[in-house]
């Protein structure tokens, strides 16, 4: 489904991604771990189409298509979804209006009829209950004044509404209390399907107890320095990143 070859990306002349290689097949769940500042969010954002970063080398194909040639919105319509590490607050745009516009853009792309306001409201309410977010949040500005955990649940809400083929979750587990972690991982597990893939960025192996990955990768200084199975996460939890001989820009988030 996703095939990343020798991907290099930089910002302001500084190289952040220094040759990433990664293949993700439909149905798989991959976890990416790694020290702060190693480039995990950069990779996620580059895949989603952020213009902050410049891709200087390498290629990415998504279901056979050259992903890097697509505009951000086209990537989304083809099924790429990024749950942001720091979801953006947009006062003045109601969450509901935003979500309906997004869902209808996707439907339009697939040749499906638009959902009217009432239909959508009903659907959105159901899904917001599923992620334990009071439907009252739908009426607020996008992420406006949401707590950290509410923002993360709003990201999962969007994933459930948009039903992506590839969901990239950038630290969606950070800042969640134990109950919220359950809610979020249930949401992610609900997305799990044979024709879908999930790429999760996380610092904690506790998430991986709930969402069991097929592969775990360690990203350090812009490169994947080690890949393994589920057990790699335990090892990292116990030993940190030092044994991998990577330079640890900052300490791993506590």
């Amino acid at each position: 489904m996703l095939n990343i070859k020798n991907l290099h990306a930089s910002v302001g002349g500084e190289e952040i991604l220094k040759g990433i290689n990664l293949e993700i097949k439909a149905g798989e769940i991959h976890a990416i771990m790694g020290p702060n500042g190693s480039g995990k969010s950069t990779l996620s954002q580059v895949l989603a189409g952020s213009e902050t970063f410049e891709v200087t080398e390498g290629e990415v194909t998504f279901n056979g298509e050259n992903l890097l040639d697509l505009e951000t919105e086209e990537r989304a319509r083809e099924g790429v979804f990024l749950a942001f590490q720091y979801p953006v607050e947009i006062p003045g745009v109601s969450n509901l209006q935003f979500l309906r516009t997004a869902v209808n853009s996707m439907r339009g792309h697939r040749g499906e009829p638009e959902m009217n306001a009432a239909e959508f409201m009903k659907h959105a309410r159901e899904v917001s209950m599923q992620v334990d977010l009071d439907p009252a949040f739908l009426k607020r500005g996008v992420n406006e004044g949401f707590s950290g955990g509410e923002k993360k649940r709003n990201e999962i809400l969007q994933a459930l509404l948009l039903q992506p083929k590839l969901a990239i979750l950038d630290e969606t587990d950070s800042g969640l209390d134990i109950d919220a972690l359950h809610v979020v991982s249930d949401g992610v597990n609900a997305l799990r399907a044979k024709d879908r893939a999930i790429l999760m960025v996380t610092h904690y192996q506790r998430l991986l107890n709930h969402i069991v990955p097929d592969y775990v990768h360690v990203l350090a200084d812009g490169k994947i320095v080690k890949s393994g199975g589920r057990e790699l996460a335990y090892e990292l939890e116990e030993r940190g990143y030092g044994w991998l001989n990577v330079k640890d820009k900052e300490a791993t988030a506590s």
């Binding site: 189409g49 952020s50 213009e51 003045g92 745009v93 209006q97 935003f98």
Partner: protein
Amino acid sequence: MKSAPTLSSVFLEPAGNYLPGPLLELRKQKGMALVDMPLPTRKTENWKYSSRHLKLSDELAVALPSPGKEGTSLSMAGYRVVFRNGVMVPEASDFPDLTGIRIQRFCDLDDQDVAVLAERLDNTLDSQTVQMARLNSARFEDGLFIQLDKEAVLDQPLFIIHEVTASSVGSAYPRIYVDAARHSQMTLVEEYISSGSEPVMVNTVTEFVLAEGARITGVRLTLEGESVQHIGATGVRQATASRFESHCVGFGGPLRRHDLQVRLEGEGAECKLNGVVVTQGKQHYDNHTSIEHIAAHCDSEETYRNIAAGQSHAIFNGRIHIHQDAQKSNANMNNKNLLLSTGAEIDTKPELEIYADDVKCAHGATIGQLNKTSLFYLVSRGVGRREANTLLTIAFINELVEQIPVEAVREAMQLRLNDFFNQTFQEA
């Protein structure tokens, strides 16, 4: 040295087919005072950005004929009065006789009322700073007098639809006077629209005089087409504990100018002035507001937002004058601006004159662009770029549009703004 151009005498030729004697007389006097009036130029401080858009050819002096095809107004529920080319159209108007509330054409007033009105008209605006509004006093053909008796409450908004038919060159000078007695209340929606494409000028003056405890909401929508020069002035005088709320929404044009002047003359009076302006292409919009804190313990709250696209130009000039006796004044002025293209221009200028020592006065102005991170967030969900731009742009003014207290107006403006920006971003 070349002398500044003066107002052509053809603008002062008598007409006035719909006015009673004393008002004709008043008009004549006002007209005489304008002989040789210098027109604003680049050097005229309060017109420096707009004078080059002011085009007063002699042809424009012609009063437009009042009958004409009816344009498309927002057509909303409420009472309505239609003015076409500055003259009221009774057939198109619809408002009831209510006790304690009079809505009358100047020509339908009895002699005594006319005499009173002639005394009171033209006492709300500072003629030094609204030089072009003086033209209205010299040229108005017709007008509406609204009188609310003590404690009278108009139960629905009154819409005044000012339509100009730009099917031939000329000008129109509608005039409104609102006299709100103690503790009376009303909402007035003034909608300025046009049909046709010949160059015309609309020059409007609306005056509100609020007695103690009166509460008036004025909504002003400037929606005329591309051939219309619009020069408007609104003057407000407020007595003790009265409240005036203004919601202006303006779409740009070849020349758009609105002067809003509020005088807080009685203790505890308060005003809230909201304004939204959007311009695109080569459009222009110039808002000048002035709030005079004359009595103590008055509050003013002013929020204006401009959005300029293309090569358009928006101007906000906000003056707050706190007089020496106006202790415990509370004045808040905020102006935020959004530039949608590098060719657009926005000029913002606060003018504060504070002569009292115990006051709270806050002001702030910013000029910015659409936030790239917000845009990325929206498009990363599959929202089209144009739609995302539109959503974000409208978000910038939504806070103000949402405060418009008449639902039908609010919804109509939201739709219209949506279309406006969709078009803006399509062309971009």
